[in-house]
């Protein structure tokens, strides 16, 4: 477990150092993730080392979100004040993003002939 965690922390550290040194807009851990994908794609043995720890972290991803979420107690006044605007923005933009993303995927997939007959939802009339 410790070697896997150490490897993951090294990628995070490399990401943090690189984003700061180069002034990149990407957060350090995101660059760390990209570096890890690149490194593991080249050396599959590295993936095996990381896998147990990475799977453990991802299985409990929601836990790590709790401390920041509790911070809502510090923002109750603001939510009372701007809650409606924020709720409308979140609801409308989420509906638009899901709809447009799925429509564009389907459209480009048909256009480029990369449809996958094994990945079609059944249940209502063809076409």
């Amino acid at each position: 477990m410790i070697p896997g965690l150490a490897i993951i922390l090294c990628f995070q550290l490399a990401g943090e150092i690189a984003t700061r040194a180069l002034g990149l807009p990407v957060p350090g851990p995101v660059l760390g993730m990209i570096l890890m994908v690149a490194a593991c794609a080249m050396r599959p043995r590295l993936t095996a080392r990381i896998r147990p720890v990475a799977e453990g972290l991802l299985a409990n991803l929601s836990l790590f979100f709790v401390p920041a979420g509790v911070g809502v107690v510090a923002h109750l006044a603001l939510i009372r004040e701007q809650g409606v605007a924020l709720a409308v923005a979140i609801a409308v933009s989420t509906v638009l993003a899901i709809a447009i993303g799925a429509l564009v995927f389907q459209w480009v997939s048909r256009l480029t002939g990369t449809t996958d007959p094994n990945a079609v939802k059944s249940g209502w009339g063809a076409r």
Binding site: V37, L57, N60, A68, G71, S109, D116
Partner: protein
């Protein structure tokens, strides 16, 4: 005497955070994984109530909870694993994914900022809203860079995920989208991990593509959000 010792140590709030999370996951399991019984939401409500009952401020709580918060960084790096596992599918559906990623990610950031700005939201709150469609650890990292409030961002991310997971099935049925890859990818881009969990409940292919969408969107939003905020901020 004992209480004053406890309140000066991080141990009590670290323990409380883990117990609240376990209670949240137990509730979620008891309802059969209904999207409204979100474990994070339940844990946050329990801890929020506990803090106000004991008159503890957030800074004191965070002394203990920071150890859990720290793990967001390594967890973000770990998100590379599902990406790696699906690299072959990623290559095959590369063009539709790139197009849907740009469209979905751009829509999520720009429409949210435009609507909120038009309704009078600005400054820190607007910056905290910008990365709401990305997975929590990344959203918090982006918000910190934009001058947003990490805790406020966490709330926006949570609401976006729950809302997306609830509306996705009826919405895409209405639009007659039958391609599982398109359905999964779109929810992953728009509603991150909570959307991905929902996609895995419905279909394995949709779940895999949702995970890819979530990972790619984390990278793209880090680039788009500062640009969009410069326009609307």
């Amino acid at each position: 005497m004992i209480w004053s010792y406890l309140t000066q140590e991080p141990l009590i709030w670290l323990t409380a955070t883990l117990l609240a999370y376990l209670a949240g996951t137990a509730c979620s399991r008891a309802t059969g994984g209904q999207s409204w019984a979100n474990p994070v939401m339940i844990a946050v409500i329990l801890l929020g109530a506990l803090l106000s009952l004991t008159g503890t401020d957030y800074a004191t709580y965070f002394e203990g909870a920071q150890f859990v918060h720290f793990m967001l960084g390594p967890a973000t790096v770990a998100l590379g694993l599902p990406l790696l596992d699906n690299l072959h599918r990623l290559r095959r559906a590369a063009l539709p994914m790139i197009a849907a990623l740009l469209a979905g990610s751009g829509t999520a950031v720009i429409s949210a900022l435009a609507i909120a700005r038009a309704m009078g939201v600005e400054g820190t709150v607007l910056a905290s809203l910008a990365p709401k469609s990305t997975t929590a650890p990344v959203a918090i990292g982006i918000a910190e860079r934009l001058g947003g409030e990490p805790t406020l961002t966490a709330v926006m991310v949570l609401l976006t995920g729950i809302f997306g997971a609830v509306v996705v099935t009826p919405l895409l049925d209405l639009l007659r989208i039958r391609d599982w890859r398109a359905r999964g990818f779109a929810i992953g881009v728009a509603a991150h991990g909570i959307g991905t969990a929902r996609a895995f409940q419905v279909n394995q292919t949709a779940g895999a593509f949702s995970g890819i969408g979530m990972g790619l969107n984390a990278v793209l939003t880090a680039i788009i959000a500062p640009l969009a905020l410069a326009v609307f901020g």
